[in-house]
């Protein structure tokens, strides 16, 4: 053995290697996988890992964006450019009927609105494509009920998740066997934390939407959350638009995604801010505030 070799692996390399292994397993064992792509930071990392997994080949599956119609313009532009840059096939799917009927959280409440525009659109999109595996960028550290999620998470032929009846998952042997109509959701980023994601984005210079960085934005304050004002915003009585220097920690639909006051303009400062942060990244997502178990209920129905 030559003496100048080093066999140490830091945490980002270990996580990267684990994720690449997972992504390759799926492509080897499934007939028709697809990668959910939400344009957020986690999706960007996941797509990047997929590129690494099949280098020098191209992605052997499409990226699928479930569009609610309420994403920020910046996100749409970024999405289209990114798919083009890496030569990926992009599928955009949405619940057209609900959008036509004017589904909006202010009318339906966030649970119902998410159910129609995200969960239903996702289930329909997966069914239409006949996908037997769908990659999602969810992380276990995001939310309590995600902590028990498997890396290969079985869904019945209605796309439903049963948290009490999951396949045991040992070592890194994944059981991807499904019958027709059933599918597996795969979470290659299960073991990553928010800080890992950003450290990796910095290390790999992965492009992300500029909304993660601070600038002056028009916002309105709702239940202590700063909601950006754009064409989708329904201003309510007595609400006032203010200009605040802020950024987004996680990206969702414009009516439900809150910004946090911040002066972070580059990734070093962002990681610094995160490490000092005293609040979790979902604090400004209006969707989780429904009830104590709202995420778990959504997941059972088929939400990612």
């Amino acid at each position: 053995m030559s003496t100048n070799e080093c066999y140490e692996m830091d945490h980002l390399s270990a996580l990267e290697s684990e994720s690449i292994h997972i992504i390759r397993e799926v492509v080897a064992e499934f007939k028709n996988p697809v990668m959910l792509y939400s344009v957020g930071k986690d999706s960007c990392v996941m797509a990047h890992l997929a590129r690494k997994a099949f280098f020098p080949g191209k992605l052997p599956f499409a990226l699928m964006h479930i569009d609610t119609g309420y994403k920020f313009q910046e996100m749409y532009d970024f999405r289209d450019q990114y798919a083009k840059d890496i030569g990926a096939r992009l599928i955009v799917d949405s619940n057209k009927q609900a959008i036509k009927d004017g589904a909006h959280p202010s009318k339906l409440g966030t649970d119902k609105c998410c159910g129609l525009l995200k969960t239903q659109a996702l289930l329909d999109g997966l069914e239409k494509g006949g996908y037997d595996a769908a990659f999602g960028g969810a992380r276990r550290d995001e939310e309590k009920s995600r902590a028990k999620e498997r890396i290969f998470s079985f869904r019945d032929d209605f796309g439903q998740w049963d948290p009490k009846n999951q396949r045991p998952e040992l070592w890194h042997l994944y059981n991807g066997r499904v019958n027709d109509g059933e599918s597996i959701r795969v979470f290659p980023l299960s073991n990553w934390t928010e800080v890992d994601i950003w450290q990796y984005i910095r290390k790999e210079r992965i492009p992300v939407v500029s909304m993660y960085f601070a600038k002056k934005r028009d916002v309105v304050e709702r239940k202590g959350v700063l909601i950006p004002v754009d064409k989708n915003t329904h201003l309510e009585e007595g609400e006032e638009v203010r200009e605040v220097e802020c950024r987004f920690r996680s990206l969702g639909c414009s009516p439900c995604t809150g910004a946090v006051p911040s002066e972070v303009r580059n990734i070093d400062d962002l990681i610094e801010e995160l490490q000092q942060a005293r609040n979790s990244e979902r604090e400004n997502r209006v969707i989780d505030m429904g009830s104590d178990s709202s995420m778990e209920d959504k997941k059972k129905e088929g939400y990612f």
């Binding site: 980002l12 080897a28 020098p56 309590k144």
Partner: protein, 430 residues
């Protein structure tokens, strides 16, 4: 400017009996390392206020699903994350309830370290022995016994010592390469993250400093090169790469290799990655190997070195843990998934099961959920395997029921000839 720090990754699992204080301990680790965010603290605080509790109940931070919230018990494996300036930690948080052996086995399968929790008032119970047994069977290199609730025994050194001696006694026959003991109070915090002032007689590591400092570099097998091919990357006629994880060992450019099962030899032309070629790769890196010769290789083949090849065979012995509600059926064919190979196979013989209450072996004709047994297996085609105690990465498999696709068992391959003195004692039935 924040500096990037390279952290080592440590995966550990917990092994406890209900009420020993696991949730409190993990809550304490997360809370005292400032991993818990203010909005989460606020939500737990509100729950505590509703229940009329005086103090913040740390156990609530790791409480996961609604069903178990109702039952008040953890029912499955949950994964938790925290880091310190030294390491990133992944906790496989598993319950210690008897019927949940399968969860402990699951959590242990990926861990470098297990924390076995003992209630200082109760001492070493059969459950603790069971935990030690599972940890040794699953090949966890480091076991730390946290003797908890020291506050309830007046932080008494003698009680700590006597529990420690008991544990050392019964575990000496097990394969636990590195065993340590720490007296703690999860509730009050002593020796978890902060040392506290109640046990001046103890001068060892606190739990966190132990987790941060033990040497895990030597836990991997870096000797036996094993590369099960995951898939072939073939973007064009000029490129044919074999993608996979170096499961164990090290491989270098220019080295001679042999492909199993064909036995064809070739030389490593390149070790490729997205970030450029490497001169060498080691476990557990994901890489793509290119060979000098055009060889027909597909998923399930394994690349090794000619002078260090694994066992190749259709017959082997194993210890399996049964994980399904459906009882194990000796006459049924199952799918055996091992590295990147999946073959039909069958258990030829069930020698005995381990009685999890006595840890004695017992004659049996069936295995039920959460039971472990020693078996011999025959697969349709040969597997390329090592014995689990030599190579954790290539010594394990899972069994899948072909009918419903469930994972029904986890197995550890044992190739050593059965030495009667190393077996658990036989159950005489008295």
């Amino acid at each position: 400017m924040s500096s990037y720090k390279e952290l080592e990754l440590l995966r550990f699992s917990t092994a406890v009996s209900v009420d020993d204080g696991k949730s409190t301990l993990i809550g304490r680790l997360l809370y005292d390392t400032k991993t818990i965010f203010e909005d989460q603290i606020k939500s737990v605080q509100e729950t505590c206020d509703r229940k009329g509790l005086q103090e913040l109940d740390l156990a609530l931070f790791t409480d996961g699903l609604a069903a178990e919230r109702e039952q008040g018990i953890t029912i499955d494996v949950a994964y938790r994350y925290f880091s310190t300036p030294k390491r990133k930690f992944i906790i496989a948080d598993t319950p210690g309830h008897e019927q949940y052996t399968r969860n402990m086995v699951t959590g242990a399968s990926t861990s470098n370290l297990a924390i076995i929790l003992i209630d200082a008032r109760k001492g070493v119970l059969i459950q603790s022995k069971r935990h030690a047994f599972i940890s040794s069977l699953l090949g966890i290199p480091h076991v730390v016994v946290a003797i908890n609730k020291m506050d309830l025994v007046d932080y008494d050194e003698d009680i700590y010592n006597s529990i420690r001696n008991d544990f050392v006694d019964f575990s000496s026959k097990m394969n636990i390469p590195d065993l340590s003991f720490i007296p703690v109070s999860a509730l009050k915090g002593d020796n978890v993250v902060d040392r506290g002032e109640n046990m001046p007689w103890y001068d060892g590591y606190t739990l966190l400093s132990y987790l941060e400092n033990i040497n895990i570099g030597a836990d991997r097998n870096l000797i036996d090169f094993r590369f099960p091919v995951q898939s072939v990357i073939r973007p064009n006629q000029d490129y044919r790469g074999y993608a996979g994880v170096v499961e164990s060992g090290v491989v270098r450019k220019g080295e001679e290799i042999v492909v199993l099962p064909s036995g064809i030899k070739s030389t490593i032309k390149a070790i490729d990655t997205f970030d450029g070629e490497l001169d060498y790769a080691f476990a557990p890196q994901s890489v793509t190997l290119l060979l000098e010769d055009e060889v027909d290789i597909s998923r399930g083949d394994t690349i090794v070195r000619p002078n260090n090849i694994p066992a190749v065979g259709r017959d082997f012995e194993a210890m399996i843990c049964w994980m399904s509600e459906d009882p194990f059926d000796v006459n049924k064919k199952y799918i055996f998934k091992h590295t990147t190979q999946s073959f039909k196979g069958k258990v030829n013989e069930l020698y005995y099961r381990i009685d999890m209450n006595t840890l004695h072996r017992q004659k049996t004709s069936a295995l039920m959920l959460n039971e472990m047994g020693r078996v011999s297996v025959r697969t349709q085609k040969p597997l390329f395997y090592d014995s689990y105690d030599r190579n954790r990465a290539t010594g394990h498999f899972i069994m899948i029921d072909e009918m419903n696709n469930n994972t029904v068992a986890a197995g550890m391959i044992m190739t050593k000839p059965t030495d009667i003195s190393e077996l658990p004692p036989e159950d005489t039935g008295v």
